[in-house]
């Protein structure tokens, strides 16, 4: 009931606003094309997209019609050419630079500010490879659908989201665009933030610090120990501890020892006739983190080795 009333109230608000000033009257430009293409639902769709709204004076489509994107196309309109001047898909598609230039005419600010020269731009990705303008709602802007667009090229990541340990991408709670800006970023891998760690802190702010006791590789790059898209190890770790930790921590004291994980009953066993062997607790549970549980950093003066 409350939900319905809320919706009703919002719609009522919308109606009140409906008497607000109307935008510039449409120039009827779309009729040039609708004479022949009017019955095509795909053509119809753009009218119901934000770009087709005549009341918004900023929309070339709404104000000037189809030609604002597809070019004047006089030869096409006169039947002399099979295609309009700018074609966005199919075998007769225009060169990518020409297609993208149309979109950039309006959409170069905000998140697209670094598009020119970005990895996707340099690899000849067209805006229309991912975006569908002839739709009331661009499918790539729907959270649950968006990763599948990325997976059409990024096959390794497609597989990794199904690994035992993963960010909830396949569950629809996190999308690629939560961390990446496909239009160009200022750090590596088109990340939304300038560094890997800044990106991670957006959701894992408790790791941001600064801490009294800092673990240098943690502060420098989360990817030293974690992999973002999927891992066969718990906690998105790149390798199983203690081996992961022993990549750096060695020495005759306990960090460097080759720990046994044989005889998993937890009881002693005799091997080689004389020696007793037991699975070491460094191999079970959280491995090194069984004791060094505050490995990301701590504010305890006694936490120099992250035991507390």
């Amino acid at each position: 009931m409350r939900c319905g009333l809320l919706l009703g109230a919002l719609l009522a608000l919308l109606t009140l606003l409906g008497s607000a000033p109307a935008g510039a009257a449409g120039m009827g430009g779309e009729q040039t094309c609708l004479k022949c293409h009017g019955s095509d639902p795909k053509v119809q769709a753009i009218m119901h997209s934000p770009m087709g709204l005549k009341g918004d004076a900023r929309t070339p489509m709404g104000q000037l019609g189809c030609q604002s994107c597809h070019g004047l196309s006089e030869d096409h309109a006169a039947g002399r050419k099979p295609s309009p001047d700018i074609v966005f898909e199919g075998p007769n598609a225009s060169p990518i630079a020409a297609r993208n230039q149309v979109c950039l005419g309006c959409h170069q600010n905000g998140e697209r500010i670094a598009w020119v020269g970005s990895t996707h731009a340099r690899n000849d990705i067209a805006c229309t490879n991912c975006h569908t303008s002839h739709a009331t709602r661009d499918p790539v802007l729907v959270k649950q659908a968006q990763p599948f667009q990325c997976f059409t090229c990024h096959k390794q990541q497609q597989a990794q989201t199904n690994y035992f340990s993963h960010h909830p991408v396949r569950e629809g709670l996190v999308t690629c665009a939560d961390c990446h800006n496909p239009h160009g970023g200022h750090g590596e891998a088109l990340l939304r933030e300038v560094t890997v760690n800044q990106t991670c802190y957006n959701c894992h702010a408790e790791k941001r610090g600064p801490f009294l006791r800092e673990h240098p590789p943690v502060r420098e790059n989360c990817l030293t120990c974690h992999t973002p898209h999927g891992s066969t190890q718990p906690r998105l770790l790149v390798e199983r501890p203690p081996y992961l930790c022993q990549n750096c921590h060695d020495g005759t004291f306990h960090p460097g020892a080759p720990y046994s994980s044989q005889n998993l009953t937890g009881k002693s066993a005799i091997i080689n006739g004389t020696k007793t062997i037991t699975t070491k607790f460094q191999m079970i549970g959280q491995s090194c983190l069984n004791c060094h549980s505050q490995i990301h950093g701590t504010n305890s003066p006694g936490g120099a080795v992250f035991l507390r």
Binding site: M1, C3, G8, L10, L11, A12, L14, L17, G23, G26, S39, A45, H48, K54, G55, D56, T59, G62, R80, K81, A114, V116, T136, R137, Q156, Q158, A159, Q160, Y163, V194, T195, A205, E206, R208, G209, P210, L212, R213, P216, T232, E239, R240, Y243, N247, G251, T252, H254, P258, Y259, S260, L264, N272, K275, K280, F281, N290, C291, S300, A304, R308
Partner: protein
């Protein structure tokens, strides 16, 4: 108009009141709203889905992210509404409501409204639950409290799984936010507030008792380690303000962001990790330690980002960011041992301050045809201004004190990257990237690192239907000024640990990296694309004699997308991936060696071992979409993942058995660890009426996991208490069914489906194009002819004219014959497609009727054509 809206409003209210009985609403909306966009306000469309589901078994892994691990019944509910001014009404109002997963803890809601081009408001909510375990075992009776001191240990003498505390180990995040947007001239202002609260318990463990586990076997009353639920209770707030300016060539974005993290649980009190001497039982050594939870922090950040298009071929873009991170939480008390006084520290809180500057300037240009380049400079400077002090603590929470300096790590990284591209053909590009990177660090083992990278790449069409890319990357990183053996001693002022000569932390060590990446897309037919992708990356650390020596990652697999018929499509892929690590480490060979690790060790103390880990993963994904009849859509999905991790240790381990006093040396690698996932889902939607669909779904989820690290019963080890059923092996069936009601203006279907589902009115003229001096038909040509043939049966056709044409290269006589051959080829194809021969009229016009007028001799593609006209 108002009446219309009132009707919609009443309908919405009625809908909510009568729950699932939504038919009256749909009817009202149908009649109230126009079927196509006219000048009536508003236009609206949407759908509501309601139903119920049932889950067969309780499973922490199946319910890990949906917050519903328990078996039983669930409600299903989704709402989507799009409403706003009709496109040609002159109005700009919009309202969009999306509410998903209403029956689950993952429920989300998003409401957007405003006037397009003027202002907009967006409000959102998202729940993100995480289930670690549904039946987490703890030795402490007060598992949910902050105070899990040994005094609350229960049943210490008759420890068995039944006597342990049991509780679900879960966290959940609730995220609320609002974003406002305002357009003013060439400016767009956005301001947002996001509030996130996370609460629950996460897995942690603590070592406690009389001796470390594994050294002396005993039972849990005398020593071991035990898992407990560490409380999580914090809030994250984010406020941001952004101004965007857009004027043709110049785009500017300025922004300010404030982030705060507030921890609501100051600390956790537990058994001291090193109070081994007397164990649990109330002796003096049985003391409490205080564990730090993440301290509250805040961060201010300003951003300035600008791009300027200098001319049609050149753009300059720059980004500057400055952030100030602060942390001044009072230090966690040095001990929980009430017999000891708190130690006076140089300061009572950290006064932590982090200043970061990030700057990036890039120039992109294509000054000559076919050529482009980009040059960029990046500065990443993290300056930790936190005071460096010597902090004191009680060793093992006993009267002995030690002191340790904090390490305020700072670094400065400069990178120059240049990329050049040359277009060999319109779709084929050769590029070369070169980069040089210089990093300085303070309070780190390696104080300076340089890296040089070079990467050639080719990307393009090999032949018609095959598109691919191939790249090779080589990078060489050199580490200078390594602090050698004393790194930790030097930095901390205390021999807490000891790393040996030759061990250089791999993430800052000298490294040679090579990477080969290849991907090929093959489309032999317009409805079939097969992709093959492969990647191999190898890292080698030439100056590291200990620690990580090398590692590689390989991934390889095919992927096929095939629209078998307009009603049946499939997507299938397989991926194999392997992560491999190879490391050397040393061990303590005799009891005369100094176990405290003081350097240098006596000679003969260091034995070396070598270990490898190999994690393999194989993934299969299959999805099928089938529409056997207009009203019925079926989807089938199958996902398989097999993770396999293998470990081996050589040159050490068992070889070390002779005379070794430390049980750590009695080593053998453990068994392989496998995880396997199978998930099958069948989903169907049947359109009972144009506005009402029945939908249903059935899933079978199978997961198995033999990881010895956690697959232990809580008391399997006599000196450790495990969390119980974190063993995740499970089989779960999940079924749900519901009703979907669509209302309002039918939103045009997505383009891909639109082509299949709704045919446009057939055209009467079709153009088929040909290669130069050719009269054979391409796949695309055959498709066009098939379309024409099909159209001829649907529109009133008495004659089909097939007119051949040629461009103006070649002689008129030759072109006359060529255009006839083209027309005949098209005519024959039409007959093959079922058009009766006797209604086809073939004509040839040579080069006399060009579509595009050209000079004689010009090879104009648009003139090499056959026109099919249905009359």
């Amino acid at each position: 108009m108002e009446e219309t809206v009132m009707r919609v409003m009443r309908s919405l209210a009625a809908t909510a009141a009568i729950g699932l009985a939504l038919a009256p609403f749909t009817t009202a909306a149908q009649t109230a709203l126009p079927a196509t966009g006219t000048t009536v306000l508003p236009e609206a469309s949407g759908e509501i889905t309601a139903g119920a589901g049932w889950q067969s078994n309780t499973s922490a892994y199946f319910g890990r992210y949906n917050g519903q691990p328990d078996h039983g019944f669930y409600g299903i509910g989704d709402i989507h509404l799009d409403a706003g001014s009709a496109w040609d009404s002159g109005g700009t109002n919009y309202l969009r409501v999306d509410a998903d997963n209403l029956g689950f803890q993952t429920r989300s809601a998003n409401i957007e409204l405003g006037q397009q081009g003027s202002w907009g408001v967006r409000l959102y909510y998202q729940g993100i639950p995480y289930t670690y375990s549904t039946d987490f075992k703890s030795i402490w009776s007060d598992a949910f409290g902050l105070d899990v001191r040994p005094g609350s240990v229960k049943n210490v003498t008759t420890l068995n799984p039944g006597t342990l505390s049991s509780f679900p180990l879960q966290t959940r995040r609730d995220i609320f936010g609002g974003v406002g947007t305002f357009h003013w001239g060439d400016w767009t202002f956005t301001t947002g507030l996001r509030q996130e609260h996370k609460q629950g318990y996460q897995q942690s463990s603590v070592m406690w008792g009389s001796s470390p586990p594994g050294v002396t076997l005993g039972n849990v009353t005398t020593g071991g380690f035990a898992f407990f639920g560490q409380p999580v209770d914090y809030d994250m707030s984010r406020y941001d303000f952004t101004g965007e300016y857009d004027l043709q060539r110049l785009q500017i974005m300025v922004g300010y962001t404030y982030n705060s993290f507030s921890d609501n649980s100051p600390f956790v009190t537990l058994q001291s990790p090193f109070a081994f001497t007397s164990g649990y039982g109330g002796s003096a050594a049985n003391v409490a330690a205080i564990y730090g939870l993440p301290p509250s922090t805040s961060e201010h950040e300003i951003k300035l980002n600008a791009g300027y298009t200098i001319n049609d071929t050149t753009r300059l873009e720059g980004n500057f960011q400055y952030s100030l991170g602060l942390q001044n939480a009072t230090f966690v008390p040095g001990t929980g041992n009430t017999n000891l006084a708190q130690i006076a520290q140089p300061q009572s809180s950290l006064k932590g301050m982090m200043r970061s500057v990030y700057t990036n300037v890039a120039l992109t240009s294509s000054p000559w045809p076919k050529t482009d380049f980009r040059i960029a400079w990046t500065l990443d400077n993290r300056n930790n201004n936190t005071n460096r002090n010597n902090y004191l603590d009680y060793v093992g929470d006993t009267a002995t004190t030690e002191s340790t300096f904090n390490l305020p790590l700072s670094y400065t990284n400069n990178e120059i990257k240049a990329e050049a591209g040359y277009r060999l053909a319109p779709e084929t590009k050769l590029s070369l990237t070169a980069a040089f990177d210089d990093t300085h660090r303070s309070y780190a083992a390696t104080s300076r690192v340089n890296e040089f990278l070079i990467k050639p790449k080719i990307r393009g069409a090999l032949f018609d239907g095959l598109f691919g890319e191939l790249s090779y990357t080589y990078s060489d990183r050199t580490a200078f000024n390594y602090n050698q053996a004393n790194v930790w001693k030097v930095l901390t002022g205390s021999p807490l640990s000891n790393d040996f000569q030759g061990l250089v932390q791999f993430y800052e060590a000298s490294r040679q990296r090579q990477e080969v990446k290849a991907q090929a897309d093959y489309s032999p037919l317009h409805n079939l694309t097969a992709t093959f992708s492969a990647k191999f990356r190898n890292d080698h650390y030439p100056h590291s004699t200990l620690g990580l020596q090398s590692n590689y990652n390989i991934s390889v697999g095919p992927d096929v997308e095939w629209d078998i018929t307009p009603q049946l499509n499939m997507h299938a892929y397989y991926m194999f991936e392997r992560y491999y690590f190879n490391q050397n480490d040393i061990y303590w060979t005799t009891s005369t060696c100094n176990s405290a690790g003081t350097l240098p060790q006596p000679s003969g103390c260091n034995g070396q071992w070598n270990g490898q880990t190999a994690d393999n993963a194989q993934t299969i994904g299959v999805s099928l979409g089938w529409q056997p009849m207009e009203k019925l859509k079926l989807n089938f999905g199958y996902t398989f993942n097999l993770g396999n991790a293998a470990y081996s240790i050589t040159d050490g381990g068992l070889l070390a058995l002779g005379g070794v006093p430390n049980a750590s040396m009695l080593t053998a690698p453990g068994p392989n660890v496998n995880t396997m996932l199978n998930l099958v889902t069948l989903r169907g939607e049947y359109a009972l009426l144009p506005t009402v669909s029945l939908i249903g779904s059935a899933s079978l989820f199978n997961f198995s996991d033999n990881d010895f690290a956690f697959n232990q019963s809580p008391t399997q080890f006599s000196n450790a208490v495990f969390p119980g059923n974190s063993k995740l092996t499970t089989n779960v069936a999940f079924i749900w069914a519901g009703v979907r009601l669509k209302f309002g203006v039918e939103a045009p279907p997505a383009p891909k489906e639109a082509a299949a589902a709704v045919a446009a009115a057939p055209a009467r003229t079709y153009l088929v194009f040909f290669d130069w001096d050719k009269s054979d038909l391409s796949d695309r040509a055959r498709q066009i002819i098939a379309d024409a043939a099909q159209a001829s049966s649907r529109v009133n056709t008495t004659t089909i004219e097939v007119d051949g044409h040629a461009d103006r290269s070649g002689t008129p006589q030759y072109n006359q014959a060529l255009s006839l051959r083209r027309a005949q080829a098209v005519g024959a194809e039409l007959v093959k497609d079922g058009v009766p021969q006797n209604i086809i009229s073939i004509s040839a016009f040579g080069d006399t009727r060009p579509l595009v007028p050209t000079a004689p001799g010009v090879r104009e593609p648009q003139n090499r054509r056959v026109e099919i006209v249905l009359k």
